[in-house]
């Protein structure tokens, strides 16, 4: 079986580089996008198993991107983890995890915890 593919979408280069390094060390194949538009463009040619998606990005918000992914028949199976600095309650976290949204990781995150939750999401 090939390596699992993960797309990271974030407008902050330091986050992209850090998460990319963490996931490549876990032997995942990693691709990056700097905003929602670039993510949707990449999804025309790539089919990741999981998207790590920031909320606050220039142009399209993470919610708008996840809604576009969810309604597209070819993409709706792709799992999404929100990766965001926005702080919500435990109850709200559960509310957000519906359809293909499988987790909500808050920045700043623990590197090992991030890797563990990505592995869990892909099981």
């Amino acid at each position: 079986m090939g390596r699992k593919k993960i797309m990271i979408v974030d407008d902050e280069d330091n986050i992209l580089n850090l998460v990319k390094a963490i996931l490549e060390a876990e032997n995942f194949e990693v691709m990056v996008a700097h905003d929602g538009k670039e993510c949707l463009e990449l999804l025309k040619i790539e089919e990741p198993d999981l998207i790590l998606l920031d909320f606050m990005m220039p142009g399209m918000s993470g919610v708008a991107v996840s809604e576009r992914v969810r309604v597209e028949p070819k993409l709706k199976h792709i799992k999404i983890i929100y990766l965001t600095a926005l702080d919500v309650s435990e109850f709200e976290r559960k509310l957000l995890q519906k359809n293909n949204i499988v987790d909500y990781i808050q920045k700043p995150f623990d590197n090992k915890d991030l890797a563990k939750r990505v592995r869990k999401a892909l099981k």
Partner: protein
Amino acid sequence: MRYAKYLSSDKTLLIVLPRQKQDMSFLQFLKNISEHHTALYVSLSKTYGSLAEKFIKNNIVLNKFFIIDSISGILKLPGKEHKNCSYFALPNTLPNLKKEIEKQMKIFSPDYLLFDSLSNLISFREILKGECSDFLLNIKKITNKKQIFLCNQGDEKTFKYIFDKNKINIDVLHWQ
């Protein structure tokens, strides 16, 4: 409390928060505020639900704060009605946020205006139409009550420049 002098100063206060582990010490700051004062808390980083959860866990008196929650709307979370909360739905404009702050300052009449955070104000720049610089100047004009702005470590130079440009005297407190 080492920051007491900052609270008693007439100047606007810019609190620079470290990116890691910022929650616990800042909650202690809020707890100290709530012991003797009230604040209008403008949140561009936490939902009302999240703040309420943290306040309860840390024995902070929630009704010492009125919270303007700008986050639940963007996450499409159902905002429940609470007597000490208003929801500011995004996308929206900075002039409208200023109007909402002005309205709640008049109704709640708090001792402090607390803005969390300027860093997120910049992150939201495309959905909150308006100039950050004009917004800060207009907020300054709303009230003579103490204004406390938060920002992330690394962003403070930008905001200090904006405050200086608008001739708003500030104290900068680097939170440890």
